[in-house]
Subunit: 196 residues, 2 copies
DNA sequence: ACCTGAACACCGTTCAAGT
DNA sequence: ACCTGAACACCGTTCAAGT
């Protein structure tokens, strides 16, 4: 039986855990610092000893999201030839968004105004981006395509999967059965490798 | 000199105008019904005679946004051959997002939970989508490409431009001069027609 | 038919004070 | 070093009352 000591002891991780739960339930805008504090059993102002404010807590959640996305992309890396790997990378990106829509929105949305203020978040985001870039560049190399600006194909592939993920989680693509939706995702994520 | 009569007379349009101004300044989450009421010179609760709540007001703003986007797409329709028109349509879509980022986010974001609750908004959204679909289908026809599910290429093209627009306005594509950014937009929006 | 005023249940954040 | 309590300036929304 915890006797509610004056000092929590590990409040920071407790706040993050509670906030992550609230995030998937209600989204970042409805997530409140006060409710996260209540879940951890501390006063409304206790979080300010561990986070500069709400945005800093959200940035910490986003960093965890980017790390999770990076792991998901790493899992499908080098599971086939370069074209198959690129397709699987795109599919994993979309699957991540569908599995954790609120976290995905937070990671890329405007709640965190400037990632450079939160180095941990910025670094984690760059880690995920580097996996995408690597898959695109490996694919281009395998097809002996030489480009002067590798950023263009990387952003093209990223736009394709990011756009599909966004449209899906924001319910812009409706009136489809689960089966048709899956084929659609395969077709769109495969477009970059199958060509126009 | 208006003598602040008890009845405003045209409060609904006045609220929409004020809210649209606030939207581009601070974004939908920070836009408050109370501030829009203050701008119109009425009490905090007056908006409830004209809108069911904040979401209904946002939905009305989003409907205007979709109408504006539709006009922008119509302006570039049939300005060249089918491939050029499709490319211009994509470019116009991204340009709209860059010109009105907060409105774009509102139109496609989670603030409006279910467009079918707001028929005006749903209809306006479908109008814009139909312009995109038309451009894609005209392009496919011009290249004599026959597909059984025209939705797949339509969603592919949409994902590409929607993803690029989202990444740009959410500041995910950084460290670029204006010139390189413009070339990037041209390359990505052109990818669907130039092929992989 | 349209608008106001007071009230309720919330927020994020600050600051002096407590252990 | 970490946490609390009271306070400030906000929200969205409801409801009885005013014109």
């Amino acid at each position: 039986m915890a006797k509610k000591p004056y000092h929590h002891g590990s409040l920071r991780p407790a706040l993050l855990a509670g906030a992550m739960e609230l995030l998937e339930q209600k989204g970042a805008p409805s997530l409140s610092l006060r409710e996260a504090a209540r879940m951890a059993g501390v006063s409304q102002t206790a979080p300010y000893r561990h986070f500069a404010g709400k945005e800093a807590l959200l940035a910490a959640l986003a960093a965890r999201g980017f790390e999770e996305l990076t792991r998901a992309l790493d899992e499908v890396a080098a599971t086939g030839n370069a074209a198959e790997t690129l397709h699987a990378t795109g599919r994993a990106y979309v699957d991540f968004a569908l599995a954790r829509p609120q976290l995905f929105r937070l990671m890329f949305g405007p709640e965190i105004r400037d990632k450079s203020v939160f180095p941990e978040t910025l670094e984690a985001a760059q880690g995920a981006y580097s996996r995408l870039t690597a898959a695109v560049e490996a694919y281009l190399a395998s097809r002996r395509i030489h480009v002067k600006t590798p950023r263009v194909p990387a952003v093209t592939a990223w736009s394709l999967v990011h756009g599909l993920a966004s449209l899906l989680i924001d319910n812009q693509i409706t009136d489809m059965e689960e089966d048709g939706k899956n084929r659609l995702i395969d077709a769109v994520t495969g477009f970059f490798v199958t060509g126009g």
